[in-house]
Symmetry: C2
Subunit: 499 residues, 2 copies
Amino acid sequence: MSREENLKKFYEWVKRMSAYQMALALIGIDKQTLAPVDGSAFRDERTAILSGELFSIETDPEMAKLRKELLADEGVTGDDRKMIELYDHEINKVLSVPKDEYVAFDLLRNESYGAWLKAKNASDYSIFEPYLKKVIEAQKKMYSYRDSSLDLYDQMLDDFEPGMTREKYDVFFNRVKERLVPLIKKVTEAEQIDTSFIECEYPVELQKKYMDYMLEYLHFDKSWGYQNETEHPFTSGLCGNDIRITTKYLPERPMSALLSTIHESGHGYYMHQVAEEYDGTIFNWGISSGMHESQSRLCENYLGRSAAFWEANYPKLKEMFPEQLKGVDQEHFLAALNASEPSLIRTEADELTYPLHIVIRYEIERGLFEGTISTEGLDQTWDAMYEKYLGIKSPTARDGILQDVHWADGSFGYFPTYALGSAFAAQFVHAMRQQIDVDDLLRNSHYDVIMNWLKEHIHKYGCRYNADEIMRMATGEPFDPDYYLDYLEDKYTKLYHLG
Amino acid sequence: MSREENLKKFYEWVKRMSAYQMALALIGIDKQTLAPVDGSAFRDERTAILSGELFSIETDPEMAKLRKELLADEGVTGDDRKMIELYDHEINKVLSVPKDEYVAFDLLRNESYGAWLKAKNASDYSIFEPYLKKVIEAQKKMYSYRDSSLDLYDQMLDDFEPGMTREKYDVFFNRVKERLVPLIKKVTEAEQIDTSFIECEYPVELQKKYMDYMLEYLHFDKSWGYQNETEHPFTSGLCGNDIRITTKYLPERPMSALLSTIHESGHGYYMHQVAEEYDGTIFNWGISSGMHESQSRLCENYLGRSAAFWEANYPKLKEMFPEQLKGVDQEHFLAALNASEPSLIRTEADELTYPLHIVIRYEIERGLFEGTISTEGLDQTWDAMYEKYLGIKSPTARDGILQDVHWADGSFGYFPTYALGSAFAAQFVHAMRQQIDVDDLLRNSHYDVIMNWLKEHIHKYGCRYNADEIMRMATGEPFDPDYYLDYLEDKYTKLYHLG
């Protein structure tokens, strides 16, 4: 076949897969938002059938041959080549493992998840420990089949953020520890900020009304996006012009739904603004965790927690909740929104202490796979690190080592991308501020102009380029964690009036 | 292969198709309720791919051979045989037509729909007429490929209600005309009922609150059913335990959302209560139009418009809308809910005049396919029949012959099932009332017991048996339209105090 015919066949295969991916995405969204619970067994069985059909299409040997042929053809360049490479890379990960081992690993993950749930409920790490050990051993074996020049944990890191290695993360996390551990200590010793007025009853019906207003401010348009409620907020989408974000309302924590919505809308904008010709392809859905998180955190923290943002939006909030915010001026409100205090649960941590939660997980994962840390006694290792970096210790394993599901599920190398996202965001914002007046735009309800800058410098590429390439294109420099640490130091020094 | 192996293979094929059917059902529901409009093109293209994949599975020649083999095996009996027969019958309809003609027909339907929409907007039948003519000719050709001993229009009638023929419908509709035309005339001449208090502003937010209350009364349980809003209310489902009903709120017609919800919940209960082992098979989703409509109309008209129903529910309505219902007692309210007056639009017609709208469509369809009526001048034929049977005439084609989409879409033989459903329902209710005290159950919020009667006598069978068989099992008699006509005569004679 000619090159053109080969490419045509390749893109037909991509489109065929995208039909199944769309159906599975919708089934997933529906399951987590609206689907009646009694239908689960029926739906899950059919979902598995569709996943199986997609798997067969993905791993079609004829298509593997086609990709090989195309990649051997030097005339295949640019977007085409990159896309073929990405699909090939992803599918080879799966194909490298013998099928029965893949199935066995899935089974083990299920068991491990069950054990973790039981352990968490009983707050007893010893129930989970044998499974964690097994999952780690199994992952080592799964990765051993791959043809990679990277060390084991580096492969895992690369899976979630292509190009990142222990070497690079070490530099990043060492800087984080160096600068943030002492800063957090100072903040902890400073006079604490009153947050009581955002930790009281805000009726959910009214919160929803304010949310409608906020979605409008965010230019999150119903013609391409939709918000629903769920237990654990997430963002998904069927295509660039069909983005579904979700939120959860807590009656006594009004800022929770609001900030999580700004966060999820950041993921949503990313998916929405990838170049239209990449729609339904790996260039859109294959965006790395770190890059995705950089955009959600940029929106949540760098925009959504800023003074300019609330100059535009605080008056309306105060108008809708006059009792709760009586006597609270904007500065006071903003301080509460940004208050910091070391706490046990990662997902509830504030912007300043959050990266330390990640440092701990990174160092443990690294040790587990390098053999310097054992699963036995890991709960104590965990507690010691919390004590060391955050000065606190969980009274229970439930709120300690058992708080996250990731390891039970076999996900190692994922956590570090959360911290990386925040740091990427700082550098992006720094570059953006040199080109557009972000604060003025926020103040004057031109959130769309900010989103457009992100589109033109980041979003439109999808994962056609990796994080390092995008960082250089968007900011003119390689990734530099000091933008992030400078930002945090400046912000919290002012907020807590530190010397 | 052995019989067992063949059957196993057959049921695996059924389950595989059910996975695609589930995905397509969900995509359809989502499209009509939540999906952002800008994603349409992407979604539609992928939906077509999935439909194509399902089509390939359905029409797999190997499976046609398997069905033939199984049907030739006299040891294949009962549910197995019936199910194989039904799938075979449905798929042979499709397989009988050359593929290119099938595609051309789909295209023609699309064009015809466009022309109808244009004609309706312009209220000009002449725009639509040439397309209607083409669609009829095309349908004649499509049916000519089938191997059937039935006449053309009888085949169409049989497609929507297996076993029904012109001969049977003639008997039914002649009785309807004979008894209802004079009754409607009397009602029209009687003193009219005041309906103004249910044709005024009922705030939508409050209507929704009352709906929550109503869904509870209907025992429509969130664990297996879900209600959403849409433009044109419908019911769909992914399986027996995953039923989605929809509604539309009109600020000045509060009874619209309410009665349409009771109607849709009737469809929903049917799908929910088919025997669990038939889930995902043609025994559930293949239920005929007439039977389905019999259950939705039973709920809406025979239960939802009854005195006993409102004895339970009127107090709450009055409590929530004290201004609108000031001085309106229950009897007065019920009279308004059942008031009758000949009107132009079928979908807005009341219970008494509705069947005459269907008589008109039936007689026209019959004439079109028998060659006694032409598409030319059909708008005048239409108007003359409305004049004759209902004593009214539309000033515009928009509210006359162009009001329904069915014919533009190539659906002929469908309309008659709407009237049939109401008539079936009357006979079912008559039988039910001999076994359980329906009014007492309605009064005391035991709607679930009524639904359970329907389950045990009708729903659980799905379409394992046809309408005639179910009618005999549930009522001990063949279908007799006089139950229906007696019911209407009795009800409207009392309501309008006719002599």
